[in-house]
């Protein structure tokens, strides 16, 4: 994709502003460092962001650290503990983490003006700061660290505070740190297969493929089969609505072969849905972005009844499609949904069902809510805003004042 492709979505002036910012950073080498080249949200965003950074005049590089299975088991444990899981790291695990980090320190080319390190796996690379005195170092945390396990956070904090700046996705993830902390939300790409416009025919084709009836209202939750997304609770919501409104429920999500829990959740959902032909439980394989896009677009109401959430980009995707969304007030969802302005927030099964009925019976209100939601996403959560924030972040590294003339 080229920047000019986004003009039709966000307007020419917004793109022009990005080019102006890029000019202020022309020739700067930005080296992103993370732990995987494929799969996962970080790799996805770097794949989309780097070509745009290059287009506005920077030179974006991307390096990936190396590590064995055991190293990544330890960093997975870091991840869970940063989410608040009550576990402990052994001395051996710490040693393994540091040893692998040392090998990466020795072998990696880290020359750049700005070194942008993503998540905890490569965090120790900051030890090379003294070798690259003119470089600016940023640590980008993509994880919910609102209530981190103290052992792992204290361990990481010593490294974090050696960086020039840090970046978090939500205000609630902010910490008391000696370095600057910036707030940059994630984004969706409006031109990706998951979010681009689809023809009516394509949507109908997907509905037909999955055996979903047209003309009967559709409630949908498109999310992984995970207890924290409460798919069983969604069926309970549907049943309360179904008493008064003849509707269908679509529960669609990916299944991960390496996550035994997802198969268990799926089995429970199938059991709960048994005997009702209006409930469509769809285990969708990876790389089915067009299908997910079509199901979101076909829905009359989209739910995200999560018990806990990170940012919830599934909500962003649905709002971008101008869908009325009813979602739990957890994680990053309240950042996207202002109750009764850009969607509806709920906390219980009964409350969720109440709002779904309201929306299905008041299509004009549902439409207005959806349109406001789309406008809010357009303003705040698209890839172009994300690119703008990264450019501003790079500029901020060279200034200390709060009002900067560039």
């Amino acid at each position: 994709m080229k920047l000019s492709d986004y003009e039709a979505v966000v307007g020419k002036n917004i793109i022009e502003e990005l080019r102006v910012l890029g000019k202020r950073l022309t020739g700067k080498v930005v080296r992103n460092v993370n732990s995987t080249a494929v799969g996962g949200g970080v790799a996805e965003i770097l794949n989309r962001m780097n070509p745009l950074l290059n287009e506005v005049g920077l030179r974006a590089h991307w390096s990936v650290i190396k590590g064995g299975e055991e190293f990544f088991s330890v960093t997975k444990k870091f991840h869970n503990m940063l989410h608040g899981k009550d576990e402990a790291l052994s001395d051996k695990e710490m040693e393994l983490f540091l040893q692998t980090s040392e090998e990466n320190l020795k072998n990696m080319d880290l020359s750049a003006d700005i070194i942008f390190v993503h998540d905890p796996q490569p965090i120790v690379l900051i030890k090379n700061k003294s070798r690259f005195k003119k470089s600016k170092w940023i640590w980008r945390c993509h994880i919910d660290v609102s209530q981190p396990n103290a052992q792992v956070w204290n361990f990481l904090k010593d490294y974090v505070e050696q960086y020039d700046a840090s970046v978090f996705s939500s205000p609630s993830f902010a910490q008391i740190l000696k370095i600057r902390q910036f707030l940059i939300s994630p984004s969706i790409d409006p031109l990706s297969d998951k979010n681009k416009e689809l023809s009516k025919e394509k949507i109908e084709e997907v509905l037909k493929h999955f055996g979903i009836a047209q003309g009967k209202p559709i409630i949908a939750q498109i999310s992984r089969f995970d207890y924290l997304k409460d798919p069983v609770g969604v069926i309970d919501v549907y049943r309360l609505v179904k008493k008064y409104i003849d509707c269908q429920l679509v529960l669609a999500g990916g299944t991960a072969t390496d996550d035994p829990e997802s198969s268990k959740v799926l089995a429970e959902v199938m059991e709960r849905a048994k005997g009702d032909n209006d409930i469509h439980v769809l285990a969708i394989p990876a790389a089915s972005d067009i299908e997910i896009n079509a199901l979101q677009r076909a829905a009359d109401v989209v739910l995200q009844k999560s018990i806990r959430e990170g940012f919830a980009l599934t909500v962003t995707e649905a709002l971008w499609k101008a869908k009325p969304v009813v979602a739990s007030a957890v994680g990053g969802i309240p950042l996207q949904i202002k109750h009764k302005y850009s969607g509806l927030l709920s906390r219980t099964i009964e409350g969720t069902a109440y709002w779904v009925k309201q929306l299905l019976n008041s299509p004009a209100y549902a439409k207005r809510l959806g349109q406001s939601g789309r406008a809010y996403i357009k303003q705040n959560f698209l890839l172009t805003r994300h690119l703008r924030d990264y450019l501003l972040l790079f500029l901020a590294l060279y200034h200390t004042e709060d009002i900067i003339n560039i």
Binding site: G11, I14, E16, P171, L177, Q181, I403, I404, I406
Partner: protein, 225 residues
């Protein structure tokens, strides 16, 4: 169309972009909020009294500031929420003065509650804490440079809302100019004193940014027809 005067000096439309910086400071009750308002930088006050203007501009001109919203919706202090919401930001020409007004409003409320035996203030849940954030502004010129009112109004139709925002809100309050940039230029460079006054009289905080753009365009077009 009226014959238009050439401006003494051209007007360059500037724009500004914002980056949000987290302070790490949080409040869970009214006294914590007050402490943050008193002690944190002016850029924090600016952020929480102006964020909604940008992020919610398509939805509604309300709610006007984060403090009012949090106090009413999270702490359930609706009276204080309304008092904070109705602080007339346009009246203040500096963040310092605005900060003082916010402090005074909250302190009066706390005193009143304590004097009437209702000094037990609600504490928010962990997930609903108030997070203090500050705004870093980046200001730069656009390619729109105009020499008379007609060029001005045509450019006003094209610039981003960020540019309008900068000249109307930020230049006046954050850079402590006594009047918004548009009114100043129209008066001193185009000799349109009445039109300048009309623009200065608008309360921009009660419009969405697109609504404000339309309003200013209409006023100028009415004048130059």
């Amino acid at each position: 169309m009226k014959k238009l005067k050439k401006a003494k000096q051209a007007f360059t439309f500037y724009t500004r972009l914002h980056l949000q910086e987290l302070t790490g400071y949080k409040a869970r009750d009214l006294k914590g909020l007050l402490k943050g308002i008193k002690e944190l930088s002016g850029s924090v006050i600016y952020h929480h009294t102006h964020r909604f203007l940008q992020q919610h501009q398509f939805l509604s001109p309300e709610p006007p500031n984060d403090f009012a919203y949090w106090v009413a919706e999270v702490l359930g202090e609706h009276k204080l929420g309304e008092e904070l919401a109705s602080v007339d930001v346009i009246q203040f020409s500096s963040i310092r003065a605005l900060r003082e007004k916010l402090i005074q409003t909250i302190e009066n409320h706390i005193r009143y509650m304590e004097n009437t035996g209702r000094g037990q203030f609600r504490v928010s849940g962990m997930e609903e804490q108030f997070h203090f954030i500050k705004t870093i502004s980046f200001v730069f010129p656009t390619s729109y440079v105009v020499h008379n009112l007609l060029e001005f109004v045509e450019s006003l139709k094209k610039v981003t809302i960020n540019s309008i925002y900068f000249h109307v809100f930020e230049a006046k309050l954050r850079l402590e100019k006594s009047i918004n940039d548009f009114s100043y230029w129209i008066d001193t460079n185009c000799g349109e004193n009445e039109l300048s006054k009309e623009l200065a009289r608008l309360d921009p905080y009660t419009y969405t940014l697109e609504g404000l753009r339309t309003k200013i365009i209409n006023l100028i077009e009415k004048r130059i027809k």
